[in-house]
């Protein structure tokens, strides 16, 4: 009996000490890591004279970061892993920087992991954060000032981009009190260009004219619903796509823009004050009225409120059930262009926003849209590392040839290593330039001034014109009369309705915006299915102001007056 008891006691003691050991080991490992990075850091201070945009660190330094973009869309070859790939090797060989990822995750988990890191004060050395996280970190004083490093070490590409329109606004957003806290990854108005996509082969089959006004589009939608455009003898087609996220502010913006309504963005009213486009009832009501009509006629799928874009709608598109998409630039590349591989008769065509009356329709767009902020944590010894890594990104992506671009950016096999780049910088409006240059090259045959990516896209479009159906989506995006071609139409005729607000999300915005958008969803949905009359939209506007819209509007106008 006694021996049994002793053994039992012994086991319990081992278990307890085992737990304690595990904890202390983990702590020690962390401490050892910290010491390592600190010690290698100290030997590495280059004097300002010797340093340059791409001067490597010698001896090598270790920089911790994270990858929060490992979505299923990312593809890489067998030899590449998230921890060891073209980018990590480039940083090591060219800049003497060893990059260590504290975590890798897909975009959704990545945001949460970042939030966790912020909450537990366990920040990687360099990070890419979203706008909310950026605000939090700046307010908490956790970011390093990179103004010096930017002035001295940023390459010409970066500096030029930041001084053009779009770039200047971005600079204002990342600077506080003369200090610069991030290198932004941002887009400008041309990157958010609205397009109406129509099944062109159906149009031809039903002998319909090309649309010039929104009423034409609606007639086309009606014909698609009733005249069996896919010819399968069944009454199973409907006009245009709507799904459960269509009634967010921007979900169906392309449609609302045709009625000169601009939900979700800030525009000037007749007194020059800024108001949110969603509150302009006289414009929103006719649009909602029409949607209600079309819903009753079956032009919109009656169950749209529960339909999912990525499953139900995709199925409907692929099965020839619907023929119009109110969207933007990229539906052509995916999923619409893909349809041609299975059925070469499929043709899609994109149109700019078409007006409901005799005034030309404008498309709403962001003045500047942030895709991320590249930041450095405040205690890191080498804040300039951010700038150098950005310079390297620029060198391999935008200042190289097609082969290099295919290796570091994306290639025809579908690999897209650019998603593995931790410090990513792109010129906003890049797609606009891409379109102009590649179409010119298609017309003249002269490819001498195309950079890496442009050459790649040019090559693919040429392939399509020579019969490769798998490149149709690219031609729909960048080719003649493509979705990017509409940028010219909007720019030359001053038809971009720009969001006048591009400041930091205000306090009330952070608190109330989602609730207000949800309110819009509720009212919009009920009006479309006919549960509420169109005039209840006025009720919505009142509620919108009461539930926080008024505070937000005041804060937006305060900001507007302060910068003008």
């Amino acid at each position: 009996m006694n021996i049994k008891k002793l053994i039992a006691l012994f086991i319990v003691v081992i278990m307890c000490t085992g737990i304690l050991f595990a904890c202390s080991n983990a702590n020690q490992k962390n401490k050892a890591n910290e010491k390592e990075t600190q010690s290698t850091g100290n030997e590495n201070v280059l004097s300002p004279k010797e340093d340059g945009p791409l001067v490597p660190y010698d001896p090598e330094i270790t920089v911790t970061s994270h990858l929060s973009s490992l979505d299923p869309t990312i593809k890489f070859t067998e030899t590449e892993t998230p921890e060891d790939n073209v980018w990590t090797r480039a940083y090591k060989n060219d800049l003497g920087i060893k990059v260590e990822y504290l975590w890798t995750a897909n975009s959704e988990q990545g945001t949460e992991k970042m939030n966790l890191a912020i909450a537990s004060n366990n920040l990687p050395d360099i990070m890419r954060v979203n706008r909310m996280q950026f605000e939090q970190l700046v307010q908490a004083g956790k970011l390093a000032d990179i103004k010096d490093a930017y002035e001295k070490l940023a390459g010409s590409f970066i500096k030029e981009t930041m001084s053009r329109p779009g770039g200047e606004e971005a600079m204002k957003v990342v600077s506080r009190d003369g200090k610069m806290y991030a290198l932004p990854y941002f887009l400008n108005c041309t990157d958010d260009t609205k397009n109406i996509w129509i099944r062109y082969d159906w149009l031809k089959k039903l002998n319909l004219p090309e649309p010039k006004t929104l009423d034409d589009v609606i007639e086309i939608a009606r014909a698609f619903t009733t005249k069996d455009p896919d010819g399968n003898g069944q009454n199973d087609t409907y006009g245009f796509v709507m799904h459960k996220d269509s009634l967010t502010y921007s979900g169906l913006a392309t449609f609302f823009n045709c009625y000169h309504a601009y939900p979700g963005i800030w525009i000037k009213d007749d007194q020059g004050k800024l108001i949110n486009g969603v509150t302009v009832s006289e414009r929103m009501k006719p649009a909602l009225q029409k949607l209600n009509e079309l819903y009753k006629e079956g032009v919109i799928n009656k169950a749209f409120g529960s339909l999912d874009w990525s499953s139900n709608i995709l199925e409907d598109l692929m099965n020839n059930k619907v023929g119009i998409v109110f969207g933007g630039l990229w539906e052509g590349w995916w999923p619409l262009g893909e349809m041609k591989v299975a059925d070469p008769n499929v043709e899609w065509k994109s149109y700019p926003v078409l007006s409901i009356d005799d005034k030309p329709a404008k498309a709403q767009s962001m003045r500047v849209l942030f895709n991320g902020f590249n930041v450095v944590r405040s205690d890191f010894e080498h804040p300039e590392v951010l700038i150098k890594m950005a310079n390297l990104c620029v060198k391999y992506m935008w200042e190289s040839d097609a082969e290099t671009f295919a290796k570091y950016g994306y290639d025809s096999a579908g690999n897209n290593p650019w998603l593995l780049c931790p410090v990513y910088f792109e010129a906003p409006g890049k797609n606009h330039t891409l379109y102009l240059k590649t179409v010119k090259a298609l017309d003249t045959g002269d490819t001498s001034d195309l950079n890496g990516e442009e050459q790649l896209i040019y090559g693919w479009m040429k392939d399509y014109l020579n019969g490769d159906m798998s490149r149709y989506g690219i031609y729909l995006s960048y080719g003649h009369d493509s979705s990017c071609a509409k940028m010219e139409h909007y720019l030359n005729n001053d038809l971009y309705m720009l969001d006048e607000f591009y400041g930091n999300p205000t306090e009330s915005m952070l608190e109330k915006n989602t609730i207000l958008e949800k309110l819009f969803q509720e009212y919009g949905y009920k009006i479309i299915i006919g549960e509420l009359p169109v005039d209840s939209y006025d009720e919505f506007v009142e509620e919108w102001y009461k539930q926080g819209g008024e505070d937000i509007t005041n804060e937006v106008n305060e900001w507007y007056n302060s910068i003008n």
Partner: protein
Amino acid sequence: MALHVKTHNNDVLKRQIVLHLMLIPAVIIVAIYSYGPLFGVVIAFQKYIPAKGIIGSEWVGLENFVQMFTMRDSVQIIWNTFYISILKVIANLLFPIILALLLHEIPKQFFRRTVQTILYVPYFLSWVILGGVIKSFLAPDGFVNRFLLGLLGIEPILFLGDKNIFVPTLIVTDLWQNAGFNTIVFLAAITNVNPELYEAATVDGANRWKLVWNVTIPGMLPIIILVATLSLGNIMNAGFDQIFNLYSPPVYETGDIIDTYAGWVY
């Protein structure tokens, strides 16, 4: 009942010391991870900013509560939460009892065991998976609706898209997932009823229904009360996982609960 023998406290301690030692790690873990975080409730009275932590965030008293209760939807979501969770508690109590009674009537052990297992399986699936399965089953052109249309000629019912049908759908699918668990507990309780009681009742002229009503159910009563008490803890738990995976704009009005609404406010 065993006689209580008064023993010296030391003896008791000696016998039980090992048991206490074995408990200590578990108690420490529960204290640190379940009780410790309870102090985090102070966040409700702060303007909490994760980067600043609890210590660095500003105290705002009842401001958060005021904001929450003056929101337009507050009454609706609180009502939804109670309504859905109470319905679920009742359904998850009644239905497994009936199921257990029915299962108990099955004579063939093999068949009974198979049905039991099949009933139990959905319990282990997460709502992410179940959500996908149910969404495609109940879609306007899904399995159930095609059956209704084809065999009974009924127009497609928007189970997940009609705010009046959504809550019953929630209850039924939740039952489908959870019934197996409680059924097994009740089955065990039923098998524990002394068979002599059944014989005595049959001798007194009881038919099958009277047997169930007068012998089985009273025999199960302690377990029923136990399970009911435990499930009372679920009164405010309307099932975030399930609702989050199944809801969409048409059903926000009746389907939004406190947990899902919190996602909108943050």
